[in-house]
């Protein structure tokens, strides 16, 4: 017998209602905004055309003018160094605190305190931490290192602690039952079991810190390729030079990615 009632796949409820209202409002707002922009007499298609030629200058004809290739590489390494140093400092601090923030390794009250503090540290953006440290250290590389280390540590404590919490409870129990103490369990079971996860998080944070280091070069005067980019774009208005820097950054990002992938593969085999 054929049923005539319509079968509803997505019944209406509060969640779908809110979702649809949001999507429709966004469409309406976007349409309205485009019709009311103050274009100051600039023709839209002329703008698109200029954007195209700018990108062409940026990407198709990179060329150094105000600094040499060697200086550029040197400055790239300053930026890499800033990213690397803050990641290593952050990781070292995080490793210790993460052990005290993992629920399977530390008393509950302690994990709550540490997790609460790191949540606060993470909630404040890296740039803001750099500026906060700039109050005492002055704007520059010291403030950048301190601020970025601080935020990295906050981020990695959470990531490491969660990796520790994910390891099999039974493994810890087995070593405890054989008389092993806390330090022995940490080094013989917890760290070997979570090594790959720790490494993945650290690489991820290094990628984040590398791009933050570029921004800090410009914004906090921390030097490196970020400062060169700032000068090329804001001072010399040289898009060709900007293009060269962009490619240098891109090249390093690719090397980093490939290296990380390969290292992780060799660890988990």
């Amino acid at each position: 017998m054929q049923s005539t009632t319509k079968i509803i796949l997505r019944p209406w409820n509060a969640a779908t209602l809110i979702l649809r209202t949001t999507i429709i409002s966004l469409i309406v707002i976007t349409g309205y905004a485009f019709t009311t922009f103050n274009t100051r007499g600039v023709d839209f298609w002329a703008g698109v055309d200029m954007l195209g030629s700018n990108f062409q200058a940026l990407l198709l004809s990179p060329q150094l003018k105000n600094i040499t290739f060697v200086t550029m590489v040197h400055n790239l390494f300053i930026t890499i160094g800033l990213g690397f140093l803050t990641t290593i400092f952050g990781a070292a601090i995080a490793l210790g605190f993460a052990l005290l923030a993992a629920q399977n390794l530390a008393p509950r009250w302690l994990t709550v305190i540490i997790k609460g503090l790191t949540a606060f540290i993470r909630a404040v953006p890296t740039v803001l931490w750099v500026l906060i440290f700039a109050v005492s250290a002055g704007l520059g590389s010291v403030a950048a290192v301190l601020g970025m280390t601080f935020h990295s540590a906050g981020y990695l404590i959470k990531a490491y602690a969660e990796s520790f919490e994910e390891i099999d409870h039974g493994t810890i129990e087995a070593l405890k039952a054989s008389g092993a103490n806390w330090w022995q369990i940490v080094f013989q079971a917890v760290l070997p079991s979570s090594a790959t996860a720790l490494l993945s998080w650290t690489f991820l944070r290094f990628e984040i810190n590398f791009s933050t280091a570029i921004a800090m070069g410009a914004a906090a005067g921390a030097g490196g390729i970020g400062y060169d980019m700032f000068m090329a774009s804001g001072y010399y208005l040289n898009l060709h030079e900007m293009g060269a820097f962009t490619y240098a950054v891109l090249a390093f990002a690719i090397v980093l990615e490939a290296g990380a992938t390969r290292y992780k593969a060799s660890l988990s085999k």
């Binding site: 099999d168 039974g170 493994t171 129990e173 087995a174 070593l175 405890k176 039952a177 054989s178 008389g179 092993a180 103490n181 330090w183 022995q184 940490v186 080094f187 013989q188 079971a189 070997p192 079991s193 090594a195």
Partner: protein, 262 residues
């Protein structure tokens, strides 16, 4: 000579009902004891109270005629080194090699630094190799544990317990995740350890027929209380039904062999 005496042991998790309620029994050196009972009866809880993995609520556990109720941290470690434990899910460190996992059984005897760095003496390494040989694992010594089969992992677990030179082995459902032939190898190994090395064994089991075949003594637990404490010979279907709180005919029981011999 009594090795272990459990005296009016009770355990309560938080404010739940008692998981163990006045357990009392004595185990002599060299005994092979099986503990049976339905899921949630308190079998795992009982084993974990014996080596203080969880604190007891009241009562006491005497090991070698010594009370273990209030052990200071240092003595607690020594207490645990004398008791090996084997688990249903093996609980090995999967990323480490077989021999490294076996040597973990020595950590309880080591200083913090030596344990942290993984420094083991030549004698310890030699003993590890010998134990692995006796369990038929010498070909797998340097394999990572996640490359082993379940039966092999359980034998590594047994090796890790044996290298503690324990007086007592606690086994929490050691064959529950294994196929029948691997399970037989494990049970035969435990029997052999019991007879050849004279190590006392307490094993939690879900299979009544396995308990009847291997154990000298069977303790049945239900809702945290001892329901029966008998030799396999004296265990009748009626008693088993009491342990599991079931009606006759509701259980899959295989008495053929034991009672044919009786």
């Amino acid at each position: 000579m009594p090795l272990l005496h459990i005296a009016q042991l009770s355990k309560r998790y938080g404010t739940d009902k008692y998981a163990l309620d006045g357990i009392e029994f004595t185990v002599d050196t060299g005994e092979f004891v099986a503990i049976i009972g339905p899921s949630g009866a308190g079998k795992s809880t009982l084993l974990r109270c014996i080596n203080h993995m969880i604190p007891m609520t009241s009562g006491d556990v005497f090991f070698n005629d010594t009370s273990t109720k209030a052990l200071p941290a240092h003595t607690l470690r020594t207490h645990r080194t004398q008791i090996g434990m084997i688990f249903q899910h093996y609980n090995l460190v999967n990323r480490l090699s077989v021999i490294e996992n076996v040597l973990h059984g020595r950590l309880g005897y080591k200083s913090t630094a030596a344990g942290v760095m993984g420094w083991y003496s030549t004698a310890e390494k030699q003993q590890a190799v010998e134990i692995l040989q006796s369990l038929g694992l010498s070909d797998h010594m340097y394999k990572r544990c996640d490359q082993l089969s379940g039966g092999q992992k359980q034998r590594v677990g047994i090796a890790r317990a044996l290298i503690q030179n324990p007086k007592l082995l606690l086994c929490d459902e050691p064959i529950a995740s294994l196929d029948p032939s691997a399970a037989k190898i494990i049970m035969d190994t435990l029997k052999d350890i019991n007879q050849r090395l004279g190590i006392t064994i307490i094993v939690n089991l879900h299979q009544v027929d396995v308990a009847m075949r291997y154990a000298q003594r069977i303790i049945g637990i239900n809702s945290g209380k001892i329901v029966c404490d008998a030799t396999p010979h004296d265990l009748t279907p009626t008693i088993i039904h009491q342990v599991y709180g079931s009606e006759a005919g509701e259980l899959i029981l295989d008495f053929g062999e034991q009672h044919a011999q009786a």
